[in-house]
Symmetry: C2
Subunit: 145 residues, 2 copies
């Protein structure tokens, strides 16, 4: 860890270390980029956004960074449709409402404790991914007409 990072002594780099990863400027940038906008970008979209502040970053590195961030629970990985995986900056317990018509994603906080669900004997739960598919208000309105 260099002087700047030590001074910052930030939680970000501690979280990486705890997960067995090193701090790198690339991971910081990718993390910043995901946090900057409260949406659900694909790896490709994150790659494009990260290139704006770090033009020399490569594709593989973005995937590597995202994998590290997901493992350290700094970012969530979300599978909503066939095709590209998305990533989510919201680490609070929530589920995703996905509009099958326009692709919009809505985060909704989960009030109830999901751990009450029955589970296979011996299964050690890491996390829940709850996706609700349907039509957003706007698209539901359109499809009626």
């Amino acid at each position: 860890m260099n002087a700047v990072e030590k001074k910052l002594g930030n939680e970000f780099s501690e979280r990486l270390n705890t997960g067995g990863f090193r701090f790198t400027p690339q991971r910081q940038h990718v993390y910043d980029v995901v946090m900057q906008k409260r949406d659900h970008p694909t790896a490709e979209e994150i790659f494009i956004r990260t290139k704006r502040t770090m033009p020399e970053i490569s594709h593989a590195t973005v995937y590597n960074c995202l994998d590290a961030l997901v493992k350290c629970r700094l970012v969530r990985q979300v599978q909503l449709e066939r095709g590209a995986t998305r990533f989510c900056p919201n680490m609070a317990e929530h589920c995703h409402y996905f509009c099958d018509a326009c692709g919009e994603v809505f985060d909704v906080a989960l009030p109830t404790d999901s751990t009450i669900m029955p589970r296979p004997k011996g299964f050690k739960v890491d996390h829940y991914d709850i996706a609700v598919h349907g039509l957003c208000a706007e698209c539901a309105g359109k499809s009626k007409k």
Copy 2:
């Protein structure tokens, strides 16, 4: 619809029709293949299995058939990891427990009515996809040692 299908008068072909699709032998085969084994195969795996009874079927047709079956609610589409989408023959209300170590998928019936979840204003729910990630009993045991 030909004579054989008329005679069978099966629900399968009715379900396709209701969804705006025609009955085709390819759709029947793909459906049979998915139903035959209670697992969670990818499109590629389904393609391979279907070729056994219908060697001339093409890749694109398997995707086309699966799309039709999913739209008619005869088969479920499941996103559990990055990479290939899986398909599921179990149409009962259930969630998926996914072992991040070995990739095994366990179906668990959902007892509670999920519709109590809060939702964005005006959102028209089609269906819920609940995936629980973690380690299956076997892998949890291994990782402790």
